[in-house]
Symmetry: C2
Subunit: 275 residues, 2 copies
């Protein structure tokens, strides 16, 4: 790269930091990349830090020491989080979304990468201070969500399977009770998918009694992995017996009546969990 002026450096550094969330980038890296003095790089980073923090894009942490540098940590400020949650509520709170069994049609939301990118940032913001090694979800509808969260956290995604169509080599399976239906089902994850000791955040699109998520928690134990947290896009609130207690939800389905075509969906608990 040819030697750049500050204005050009700022553009490139912004791009670079956004591609490397939760990674420590040394000042030396930038200094060599742009053939600029470390003092100039430091000044550049002050400008970026100020903009990122003023606009709520995230924090730019300075890590001192020889193996130090800067680390971009995506966040979201309360105003923007409220706006996003309210947008989701407005979008999801529609009778035409009601499916048999009290589920909601959400494939338009889950299939919207731009919206999910912001949803992922919101979850990442709530996990701001936690050490996370992987995001876990179960196929199929949780996958876009897990991917969006994993992107902001800079960590891989483990996709738990419910079918046995194609083997992925040595598999770990557990049986779980899908709480809503009392059926015993099986979930499977390739042994090589998740390292022992991994700190894992579990996400899913919809949680009713929590049987599926409970299954994933049990599966984590089989991998000697640690549960850091649980996040769902929608929690169905009218459930007498919940198998999962501590989780973050973006929205809450408080009432759904397929016959009367009535639905009531509100904000979830996420806004209380933001820093």
């Amino acid at each position: 790269m040819k030697k750049l002026k500050r204005s050009s450096r700022l553009v490139d550094m912004t791009y670079f930091l956004l591609q490397h969330p939760h990674e420590v980038i040394s000042l030396t890296h930038f200094s060599e990349r742009y053939q600029a003095a470390k003092s100039s790089i430091s000044e550049d980073l002050v400008i970026i830090k100020e903009m990122f923090e003023d606009e709520g894009y995230g924090a730019l942490l300075t890590i001192p020491g020889a193996s130090g540098g800067v680390k971009y940590m995506p966040r979201m400020n309360k105003d923007e989080a409220e706006t996003l949650v309210h947008q989701l509520v407005l979008d999801l709170n529609k009778p035409e979304r009601i499916l048999p069994g009290g589920y909601l049609y959400m494939m338009d939301v889950l299939g919207n990468p731009k919206l999910l990118h912001e949803v992922g940032r919101l979850f990442a913001a709530a996990l701001y201070d936690k050490e996370i090694d992987a995001v876990m979800t179960v196929a199929t509808k949780g996958i876009p969500l897990a991917y969006a969260v994993g992107q902001h956290l800079g960590v891989p995604v483990s996709i738990v399977r419910r079918d046995h169509r194609i083997t992925e080599g040595s598999m770990v399976s557990i049986n779980y009770a899908s709480g809503s239906s009392d059926r015993i089902q099986t979930m499977t994850l390739a042994r090589r998918s998740l390292a022992a000791g991994s700190k894992v955040f579990i996400v899913d699109d919809f949680m009713k009694a929590g049987g599926t998520i409970r299954g994933m928690v049990d599966l984590l134990a089989e991998f000697d992995a640690d549960l850091v947290g649980i996040g769902v896009l929608v929690e169905a609130a009218e459930v007498s017996e919940r198998l999962v207690d501590d989780y973050v939800s973006l929205t809450k389905l408080t009432n759904v009546d397929a016959r009367e075509k009535q639905i009531e969906l509100l904000s979830g608990n996420i806004l209380d969990r933001l820093h």
Copy 2:
């Protein structure tokens, strides 16, 4: 937002453009956002355009006229594309990845959001001049890929299902022959998932005889949608009869022998398809 200096504006505009690929952003939008003259904004954009194009992040197209502005279109230059493809080849070309039936274990690659983000950009770069309304894939392993491509193209993702566990309302189903196994299978997409007339790019992780992709092409016809292109992460090359002719592949599996634990994987045809 308070009135910003050029250096701060450049950071915010870079962030903003990266969140809005393939969207026309008017100069007025930026001018109002930063309380800056349009002439200043134009100068800012020249700086960003130069950096984006020099580094191969993408093009910043100027659209003239009243409803004009700028549009960020992610691209990748040939050098970076070659490096990425070679990295994928090195990564995938390992005997321990071989699965029964000549398939490859790829969940570590598919579950790596950072790597997939670059893979998505590479596909988007190959589709640079095409008008695309949606990306389609079939659950499960194609989903992270489709999401990454959709993100760079700024379009939604349609996920075709192979199971019938949960209904998504009115569904469209077609039967297809999974070429590798000669079994008749069913694939399904919710009617409301895809608008008629949509221009669709189909992606999948692995293509052998192309039966699954052929099925998705047939499904497109049921939606009166148009096929723009097909992209796969891995094509298995030793197939006598291919059901799909025109596609883009990042890598090509030229030989796989589960018993001898031998594998040969090379670059696909993507590098010839880049502009």
